[in-house]
């Protein structure tokens, strides 16, 4: 190959290359200088570290941007967490997860209704007082069919609430009245043992009518479209990019709030990114740790915390008569080979998860102590031979020559996939049942569950309020969330009893009975009660985690200089 042109070209291109390398290095140097300079001057939130004791600032990361801050319509955990910081209801949960007075100073619960007396110094962030009318308006709005609130059902204990929500009665038929600015009268549809628990839920938060109407349908859309009566108020909201909460000086109990600012400049669902931010000293908490990240955390010698998020996860069956899973022997066969302990300890591998034994989790209160201590869950002894016998009987009854093939509906998350593959292998090797894994993304999975297009499904249920009923009524035949359409008369009766009775003994007995029925009928196979592990900067104290209600809760948090 003739070299003349090549070497000449080469020298020319070399010049260019050197030029570009020099340019890049110069650029990089400039960047380094810039960042060093900005670190010195300390301007802007990006230079603040996770915890700034002087200014009382806490920096965090959230998984998504809160999709709905209108308290009448919020359903997801992020929105509820934010609402828990910027709003307050009649009652609230304190640092020990006990119900304490919020906007209401005192209250009285009777069989037919309740009365709440509001405190004088409860204020909105624009200085005006929080009145009983604000609560009445909010509750009316939440139940109005036009609002289409998915949590409207939580207001159903109120008189005529359900009828209004289904459109049979006009909205002013609601049994809620503001007697005057300070007193709220409530009538019940039927006697309710756990109304106090419900009132702390965000859907029961107050909304001021004139402000709501003023926003022209945009209530909750941006910073200026909300009024705050809670410990914090939002000062910055750049969607998906930056959320900033600052201490609300108008809050009546502002003395108990020790943080000044909660800054959230990072939104991502990627826990590895969050971990990197934590390592870089930019955020103070990493929630939702996965099993794979534990080793890194241990190596870094960070402090791990755990808490049970209160949810129960189980295998749900399709009880439609056309499906093989409606056959009791088949379900029994599956139950007798499923070892939740193996699932929790070998597959999920996260501390904090408890092997599932019942629909009702361990943290529920019973009459005097824990429900599961007073009413222990029926114990299942695993027996592969008996299981095969049940399978044989099932095949006889169903008229099958071979073990059936079942579709297992799961989420598209990696963890769900792992569990699905485990079950596939388990049932395949122990019983010869072929499991087809039906992996769907969110909306499709919901659609399939609703339309009963599955045989088995992994399902999780988180509590709406701290009473066994939130789990018990899941399998009531009228519940739209009972996707498998399990229907048992004795069970339904027991649920109705628990709903209407006020006697703790009667109610707890009913729940015990429900627990037995579910186990006998093999209505579900409990897998685990979920617990989470998270890491938190040691300088941050007083963070409250909850199974029910806004979680995590920083309203009582404070900064310690030298832990």
């Amino acid at each position: 190959m003739p070299d003349v042109s090549n070497s000449a070209t080469r020298s020319a291109s070399l010049q260019l290359v050197w030029l570009s390398i020099a340019a890049t290095l110069g650029f990089a140097l400039l960047m380094v200088l810039l960042s060093w300079a900005s670190a010195l001057t300390g301007s802007g939130p990006s230079t603040l570290n996770a915890i700034d004791a002087e200014s009382g600032t806490l920096t965090l990361q959230l998984s998504t941007e809160p999709p709905q801050l209108d308290s009448t319509r919020a359903t997801d955990s992020v929105s509820i967490m934010v609402l828990g910081h910027v709003m307050e209801g009649l009652l609230r949960f304190d640092a020990n997860n006990q119900l304490v007075p919020g906007v209401a100073e005192r209250w009285e619960i009777r069989e037919d209704g309740a009365t709440f007396w509001l405190r004088e110094d409860a204020r909105w962030s624009d200085g005006l007082p929080v009145t009983a009318h604000d609560f009445s308006f909010a509750w009316h709005t939440a139940l109005a069919p036009e609002t289409a609130s998915e949590y409207a059902f939580i207001l159903y204990p109120l008189k005529n609430a359900e009828a209004i929500n289904t459109g049979s009665l006009p909205i002013d038929a609601l049994g809620v009245h503001a007697v005057n600015d300070r007193v709220l009268e409530v009538e019940f549809e039927q006697p309710l043992a756990y109304f106090e628990e419900l009132v702390a839920f965000p859907t029961y938060n107050p909304i001021r009518e004139d402000f709501y109407r003023n926003r022209d349908g945009r209530y909750g859309a941006d910073v200026e479209d909300l009024l705050y009566n809670g410990p914090f108020e939002m000062t910055v909201w750049v969607h998906g990019a930056h959320l900033r909460l600052e201490k609300n000086t108008h809050y009546w109990d502002h003395e108990r709030v020790r943080l000044n600012v909660i800054d959230i400049p990072y939104f991502t669902t990627d826990t590895t990114a969050a971990l990197n931010l934590y390592k870089d000293g930019q955020i103070a908490i990493v929630d939702y740790l996965g099993a794979e990240q534990l080793d890194e955390v241990l190596q870094q010698r960070w402090e791990l915390q755990r808490f049970g998020d209160g949810s129960v996860w189980f295998l749900a069956f399709n009880f439609d008569p056309s499906r093989v899973t409606s056959n009791w022997h088949l379900r029994k066969a599956l139950q007798l080979v499923t070892d939740p302990s193996e699932l929790v300890n070998r597959i999920i591998k996260m501390p904090g998860n408890l092997p599932g034994e019942s629909l009702f989790p361990v943290w529920l209160q019973g009459i005097d102590g824990f429900f599961r201590q007073e009413y222990p869950a029926p114990q299942i002894t695993l027996d592969a031979d008996a299981a095969r016998e049940h399978l044989r009987l099932a095949m006889e009854e169903l008229g099958l020559d071979e073990p059936p093939s079942l579709a297992l509906l799961v989420d598209d998350t990696p963890g769900a996939g792992r569990q699905a593959e485990y079950f596939q292998n388990l049932y395949g090797t122990q019983l010869g049942i072929d499991i087809r894994i039906d992996r769907q993304i969110f909306k499709q999975r919901l659609a399939k569950m609703q339309s009963q297009d599955f045989d088995l499904a992994t399902y999780g249920w988180g509590p709406d309020f701290a009473d066994p009923l939130t789990f018990g009524e899941l399998f009531a035949s009228w519940n739209p969330n009972n996707n498998g359409r399990f229907s048992n008369q004795a069970y339904d009766q027991s649920v109705r009893l628990a709903q209407s009775s006020l006697d703790p003994r009667i109610r707890m007995d009913a729940f015990g009975r429900q627990q037995e029925i579910l186990s006998e009928e093999v209505a579900l196979i409990p897998n685990y009660e979920r617990g989470r592990v998270y890491i938190k900067d040691r300088r941050l104290q007083g963070v409250v985690r909850r199974a029910v209600g806004p979680d995590p809760d920083f309203t009582n948090a404070y900064i310690v200089e030298n832990p």
Partner: protein, 466 residues
């Protein structure tokens, strides 16, 4: 100067010798010439061997290494290659009732350190059973476990359990036990639920154990030889380690190769072919036809990928848990050809103006002859680059599609989906990611080198240099 008068007789006829220029070597056609060049290129030859080796690995491999890629060896989760395989025979697991103390003192404001932590029985991967001396005034205990020594800075590690009953002075750990050294710390809590300042730590070495029944069912021992407690056996051998569900990596890579290589070779071939034909037609014909064709290509590119993938899945009627390899192939081809078409069209637009095209047309060449014989071979460079880049892209797209249920269904592996899964344990168990990624890299490298060699051999512009 004297004048010469020449007549016809002055000229003698020279003998006409028919000495034709002898060609030193036999005449070669375009293709045979290309093959010769390719063989001479050592790098290309090496890559060809690599490709053949990969195909061998794929096709013959499973006959040689007959381990089932779906078998889950739950005793060896995520083990790296070359891990220790010894295991001891023990009795099957029996639930433990724990140890409770009779002492019942009311919880106090402060509590002392826990003491006398010991193992109730030898620690193994089946269970670790701890017992400790009761602490007076404790309202409960917390048990922590770390794989590093907690000393100097109290890094006690994973919070395993919170015990609320002060009478319970034992704990059984079943969580993800591997044969390693653990440090267990037990801390007493006071009346307010706060942990004591001081605590004790116990270092525990666990050994891998297996029950006799398990050893026999898995075929680890001969059925005749009797097994007694304490005997040592070796658990299944996994030359490349296992994945997060204990499945053999080597077997999975072999089976995964079938899917990945099949898709990775066939799909790019088809969509590049489509792109070439489409793009050259558009580029050459030009005018209105070109505009329409290109606008359609733009249209295809702008469609949202995920949405249409789901649509295809429905349209092809892929049920839950079924493998839809052919539909995936079709979908990939249908949605990926525009980029190649555009590239080829660009090249054609350039080449169209070259002199030899005009000359050929003057000689009476038809359109299709021009396209096939002159233009397309001159786009070889661009086409080969696209092809070689298409391979890894397609493998990863296939991984994504399998993820949403469009490709291979679990437990069938593919290299792409193995990478997906390996990403999550990247830091702890790198072998789960490195192995499939290395194989993908190898494939890509081989195809790149091969592509280079082919281009050198086929491209006329390169060949004009001798």
């Amino acid at each position: 100067m004297t004048e010469l008068s020449l007549t016809a007789a002055d000229f003698e006829r020279i003998t006409v010798e028919r000495r034709v220029q002898t060609i030193a070597r036999p005449s070669l056609s375009y293709w045979r010439d290309a093959w010769v060049r390719l063989k001479a290129n050592r790098r290309a030859l090496a890559s060809l061997y690599i490709v053949i080796a990969l195909l061998f690995f794929t096709v013959v491999g499973p006959w040689v290494w007959t381990v089932d890629p779906t078998a889950q060896d739950l005793d060896q989760l995520s083990t790296p290659p070359g891990a220790d395989r010894r295991a001891q025979i023990v009795e099957p697991y029996v639930p433990w009732n724990g140890v409770f103390t009779a002492i019942n003192e009311p919880p106090a404001e402060t509590v002392r350190a826990t003491a006398e932590i010991r193992l109730a029985e030898p620690a193994s991967t089946q269970a670790v059973r701890l017992v400790w001396a009761p602490v007076l005034g404790a309202s409960g205990y917390r048990v922590y476990r770390n794989v590093y020594d907690p000393a100097p800075d109290d890094a006690v590690g994973l919070p395993l359990a919170e015990i609320y009953d002060p009478r319970q002075v034992s704990y059984e750990d079943l969580l993800d036990l591997t044969p390693t050294r653990y440090w267990y710390s037990v801390i007493a809590t006071d009346r307010n639920g706060r942990e004591a300042e001081e605590y004790t730590t116990l270092a525990v070495d666990t050994i891998r154990v297996i029950t006799a029944a398990e050893a026999q069912t898995r075929g680890l021992v001969d059925l005749e030889s009797p097994l007694s407690l304490g005997d040592e056996v070796r658990v299944s051998f996994h030359p490349l380690g296992t994945d997060y569900l204990g499945r053999d990596m080597l077997a999975r890579l072999m089976y995964g190769a079938r899917v990945s290589l099949f898709i990775g070779i066939i799909a790019p071939f088809f969509f590049v072919l489509t792109g070439i034909l489409y793009g050259s037609a558009a580029g050459f014909i030009g005018g209105r036809v070109d505009q329409v064709l290109m606008r359609f290509a733009d249209f295809v590119v702008a469609l949202p990928f995920l949405l249409f993938m789901i649509l295809f899945k429905i349209a092809f009627g892929i049920g839950p848990g079924e493998s839809g390899v052919v539909p995936m192939l079709v979908a990939l081809v249908v949605l990926s050809w525009p980029a190649t078409a555009r590239l080829v069209r660009g090249q054609i637009l350039q080449i169209r103006e070259e002199a030899y095209i005009g000359a050929s047309q003057l000689l009476g060449a038809k359109t299709h002859y021009l396209i096939l014989r002159h233009m397309i071979p001159n786009t070889v460079g661009v086409v080969l680059v696209t092809l070689t880049f298409a391979v890894p892209t397609v493998i990863f797209v296939e991984a994504f599609l399998s993820f949403i249920g469009m490709g291979v269904a679990p437990p069938t592996p593919s290299w792409g989906s193995m990478c997906n899964e390996g990403i999550q344990t990247m830091l702890n168990h790198p072998h789960e990611l490195i192995l499939p990624a290395a194989l993908i890299s190898l494939t890509v490298l081989a195809f790149n080198l091969l592509g280079d060699g082919l281009r050198d051999a086929l491209d006329s512009r390169m060949r004009s240099r001798e």
